[in-house]
């Protein structure tokens, strides 16, 4: 809800996400798809729209899209049709984009969102279809000419359209993060927004609560979650302002100016009107074998929701902790490697506490973590078997981050092994008692507070290596004796 000048307004948002399919080859040609290649080096005559060239569907891209559909708990349409979306633009070599229109590959599905207040929201996915990406127009290479890079032309995209179920910029952000997480779990899109593998168009309208939907504006081609949220926020307020002043919202396609944080209408020339969709006569209808779809369903990797539930039930983690650990596929994988055959709660604490702290401080992702999961696990083992105390472990971990060495090697090299020999500890206690006989007398006279002082003295005498539990046990015995 947004508080306007006169009343409250509800924002209604639907998102169209363009997710680049992870595939070595393009949707209808064998050309490569590597990011960052020299301009126009990954272009076949098919992608360049040369005369007589024909598209041949890349079955792997279909498999990826079906997997994604299954991952969104969506209906898979066994019959779908590729159509041509016709418009003229230099980065669209054939003069049409091959897309799906009336009969998409994937029908209705849903995404479940974990809201900050602990509740869950189901967001409907209207459809998912496959389509070609366009090339890139480079307007900044020459004062009067536009240059073209067709490397992207023909790359497979999944367009994932949500229902108008989102109600705030924040929800839109949560939805996008969740969708990206699912795509990464499925390995069907790398979700890398900076490289353009995930782009988003936002449909935004406002209404008074309970009233029918308002007129929407579409904000095109946003390439970060932050921009999506900013654009929605701005656009909703813009529309509310118009309505509160008695005006009418005009249905428009708008662009987000990230520099100024505002949306502006596209120039009419930028906005095509009639795409003249019709079934592409160069391609047969796409017919899927139901057994193949079922096989893919069976092979589907675990998705974040199921993983979270499992972390809660199998590992005894809290909902919140499990949610944090499954949000990114890499984190969940890392955690599970650490937690394997170990105390999962200890593993979770180390991953979310010390490790995340270090990664944050270094500003790197898990893929560049200085401590591998196996290394962290081995360190936890040293705590469990009493080689090091939890307190010493903090020092060992810091050293692991600094040097990349294994915990065991650091313990050996620095002599950090915990003292668990009762006679050594008893000797240390005796030495402390001998030196502090007056304090012992005071304690016995009732000054309980001195207990901590003795522990500190004993730890200092053992360079902090004495097993704390054993120290407690023996100290109590001696003080009592």
């Amino acid at each position: 809800m947004i508080e306007g000048r006169t009343r409250e307004w509800e924002t209604v948002i639907g998102l169209e996400v363009h997710a680049q399919v992870i595939s070595k080859a393009k949707l209808f040609s064998g050309a490569a798809t590597d990011f960052g290649a020299e301009p126009n080096t990954e272009v076949s005559p098919v992608d360049a729209g040369f005369p007589g060239m024909l598209p041949v569907l890349n079955r792997f891209c279909v498999e990826q899209a079906v997997k994604t559909g299954l991952g969104l708990s969506a209906e898979i349409n066994l019959n779908s049709v590729f159509e041509r979306k016709n418009y003229f633009y230099p980065d669209l070599p054939a003069g049409y984009q091959i897309s799906q229109y009336q009969q998409p590959l994937v029908g209705y599905g849903r995404v479940s969102l974990d809201m900050p207040d602990g509740t869950t929201r189901e967001i409907g996915v209207t459809r998912l279809h496959l389509e070609q990406d366009a090339g890139k127009s480079l307007h900044d290479q020459h004062p009067t000419l536009t240059h073209l890079d067709l490397n992207r032309a023909g790359v497979a995209l999944m367009e994932i359209v949500s229902e108008p179920d989102l109600r705030s910029a924040e929800e839109a952000g949560i939805y996008l993060r969740k969708l990206r997480s699912i795509l990464r779990y499925l390995d069907t899109c790398d979700g890398n927004m900076e490289e353009g593998s995930l782009r988003c168009d936002c449909n935004v309208s406002v209404r008074r609560p309970g009233e029918p939907l308002g007129t929407r504006c579409e904000i095109k081609n946003l390439n970060s979650i932050r921009y999506v949220m900013q654009a929605i926020e701005y656009e909703a307020r813009r529309q509310i302002e118009i309505l509160e002043e008695g005006g009418r919202v005009e249905q428009q396609t708008r662009l987000f100016d990230s520099g100024r944080g505002i949306t502006r209408p596209m120039r009419s020339k930028e906005e095509p009107h009639d795409y003249r969709y019709f079934p592409d006569p160069d391609l047969l209808p796409l017919v899927l074998d139901p057994a193949w779809v079922e096989r893919l369903r069976g092979e589907l990797p675990e998705r974040p929701d199921a993983k979270k539930a499992r972390f809660v039930s199998d590992y005894g983690l809290s909902d919140d902790d499990a949610g944090v650990l499954v949000a990114e596929k890499e984190t969940a994988l890392y955690f599970e490697r650490v937690a394997q055959r170990r105390d999962p709660k200890v593993a979770a604490n180390w991953v979310m506490g010390d490790l995340f702290g270090v990664l944050n401080r270094l500003g790197v992702g898990l893929d560049q973590s200085p401590v591998a999961a196996e290394q962290l696990g081995a360190m936890i083992d040293l705590i469990a078997d009493g080689t090091i105390s939890g307190r010493l472990a903090k020092d060992v971990f810091a050293e692991m981050v600094a040097s990349g060495a294994d915990a065991a090697a650091i313990v050996e090299a620095k002599g950090l092994r915990q003292v668990t020999d009762a006679t050594v500890i008893e000797a240390a206690i005796d030495a402390v008692f001998a030196a502090q006989a007056d304090k012992v007398a005071e304690f016995r006279a009732g000054r309980d507070k001195l207990y901590g002082f003795f522990v500190g003295q004993i730890m200092r005498a053992t360079q902090g290596k004495a097993n704390p539990a054993l120290v407690n046990q023996l100290l109590n015995k001696k003080l009592a004796g």
């Binding site: 005559p45 007589g52 016709n86 003229f88 070599p93 003249r276 019709f278 047969l284």
Partner: protein, 496 residues
């Protein structure tokens, strides 16, 4: 080295002569190169490739000498300039493809070269194969080698494969490739007194063929005899994974279909093809065809194809809708003609206005219109439904009969310029040929007689999908019965 006598041989005869070394592939190619030059007034070729022909002939000769002859070794053919040929100018008869040298070879021509055929050059055509007269080419009209006796006015060769048909008829090629979207192989074959086969849709790959209307474009052969066309088809046909609409159907030896035996075969005679405007001479020829087949032991059966009357409008909606989209790529950005303008929009407009001729512009406009919002359902969608009904007509009919006999075209060749002011009259030329394109079934045109003013007329046999064998077998019977021996007034090598 040039021997005009060789020009009188048909493909099968030339193949036999090469095999028994009566002459070399180089002699044959030299002779045909001269014939191509001699036939220049017909404007049948846009780009002759005599040097390439000689090089290919020499390679064929080496194989022939080694006894490793390929099926078409040394056979000089013309290639409709709609087929992309690697590094050889490919124009589609359009100014907009100015200077376009494809970096690839079409599947069909590649197969022909791999079978040993020799390329004489790229044959003229209607611009983007849009026409029934081969007069819309940027490179000028094709002239039919036939003239009406006592009348020196040049006649159209038919279209759109008019250059291919004229070259074959004038003995300036042994055979040729064509494409047939609404009759573009069969109608020019009929106008030029030769044989043209539109195979089943999916039989010959469209990969590398400049698209007019993808769901209707059929590459196919043009030749002097039914056997020649069967031989050509054998080399051109086959599944191509690069064309998603290509059919994974095995290629048989089509010559073996020419058994000469059609006893017991049921031949459908559709009443709907008796159109009002049809000249009596064509009606009479059709009747003769029925009699020839009856005499050969076939059984004529009266049939009905009730959707026939909707075929032409259906065809023109679907073909032009697809064309409007297929021709969007000619935008001056990546290849071919570019006319600079003030900004992008103007460059598009000037390029396409200068690059496309009037007929192409008309068809792109109509096609754009029928796909437009608000008109799509009434035109394109309805046309697709009617198309399905037409296909069903054929499927039902082929449960009753084995093939269908009709005339190929409602007239003989007309004078150049005669129908150019009246697009509808021009479109009516396709009335008998478009149904087979809409249904995707094979159909052939065979020269069966002369009109009252001495011009060739063709009969058409239409068959079941992928049953080119029956179509060829029946065509062979008609060919024998008609024993069409007439020759056009222009014949290369005849001047001697």
């Amino acid at each position: 080295m040039s021997d005009p006598a060789l020009l009188a041989l048909n493909l099968a005869e030339a193949r036999a002569g090469l095999a028994r070394k009566a002459f070399s592939a180089r002699e044959l190619a030299t002779t045909y190169n001269d014939a191509v030059a001699e036939a220049k007034p017909l404007n049948a070729y846009i780009t002759p490739t005599p040097e390439r022909a000689l090089a290919m002939a020499d390679a064929a000769d080496q194989r022939l000498v080694r006894g490793e002859a390929l099926p078409l070794d040394g056979i000089p053919i013309a290639v409709k300039d709609l087929f992309c040929t690697k590094e050889v100018l490919t124009t589609a008869g359009s100014h907009i493809l100015e200077g376009f040298h494809p970096p690839y070879e079409s599947t069909v021509t590649d197969k022909l070269w791999r079978a040993g055929a020799v390329m004489l050059g790229k044959a003229n055509l209607d611009e983007f194969a849009m026409g029934s007269s081969s007069t819309t080419s940027w490179y000028g009209p094709v002239e039919n080698p036939w003239r009406r006796p006592g009348d020196n006015r040049p006649l159209v060769a038919g279209g759109s494969s008019g250059g291919s048909a004229a070259a074959v008829a004038a003995h300036a090629a042994l055979a040729a490739t064509g494409t047939d979207t609404g009759g573009s192989i069969r109608q020019p074959a009929s106008f030029c007194g030769i044989v043209g086969l539109k195979p089943t849709y999916g039989r010959c790959s469209r990969w590398g063929v400049v698209a007019f209307a993808s769901s209707l474009d059929h590459p196919g052969p043009i030749g002097r005899t039914v056997r020649d066309v069967a031989i050509m088809l054998g080399a051109m046909a086959g599944h191509d994974p690069k064309d998603s609409t290509s059919a994974p159907v095995p290629v048989t030896d089509f010559e073996k279909a020419l058994t000469g035996d059609i006893r017991g075969l049921r031949v459908g005679i559709p009443k709907e093809y008796r159109v009002d405007e049809m000249p009596r001479e064509i009606e009479a020829l059709w009747q003769r065809g029925v009699e020839w087949l009856r005499l050969a032991g076939a059984e004529p059966v009266d049939i009905s194809l009730p959707m026939t009357k909707y075929a032409l409008p259906t065809y023109y909606i679907i073909a032009l809708a697809e064309a409007s989209s297929n021709l969007a790529r000619y935008d001056g950005v990546r290849f071919g003609l570019r006319v600079e303008g003030d900004g992008l929009e103007e460059m598009y407009e000037l390029t396409r206005a200068a690059g496309f001729g009037a007929e192409v512009r008309r068809r792109v406009l109509i096609g754009t219109y029928v796909l437009s919002a608000g008109y799509y359902d009434a035109y394109y969608l309805k046309a697709q439904r009617v198309r399905a009904l037409i296909a069903r007509d054929f499927a039902a009919t082929f449960e009753q009969v084995d093939c269908i006999l009709t005339p190929t075209a409602p007239s003989a060749a007309f004078t150049i310029g005669e129908k150019t002011d009246d697009p509808i009259a021009m479109y009516l030329n396709d009335v008998f040929t478009v149904p087979a394109n809409l249904a995707g079934v094979p159909a052939i045109s065979i020269p069966a007689g002369l009109s009252d003013d001495g011009l060739p007329l063709g009969l058409q046999i239409t068959g079941r999908a992928f049953d080119e064998e029956t179509v060829l077998r029946v065509a062979g019977i008609l060919e024998n019965a008609a024993s069409f021996r007439h020759l056009p007034s222009f014949l290369a090598g005849a001047g001697g």
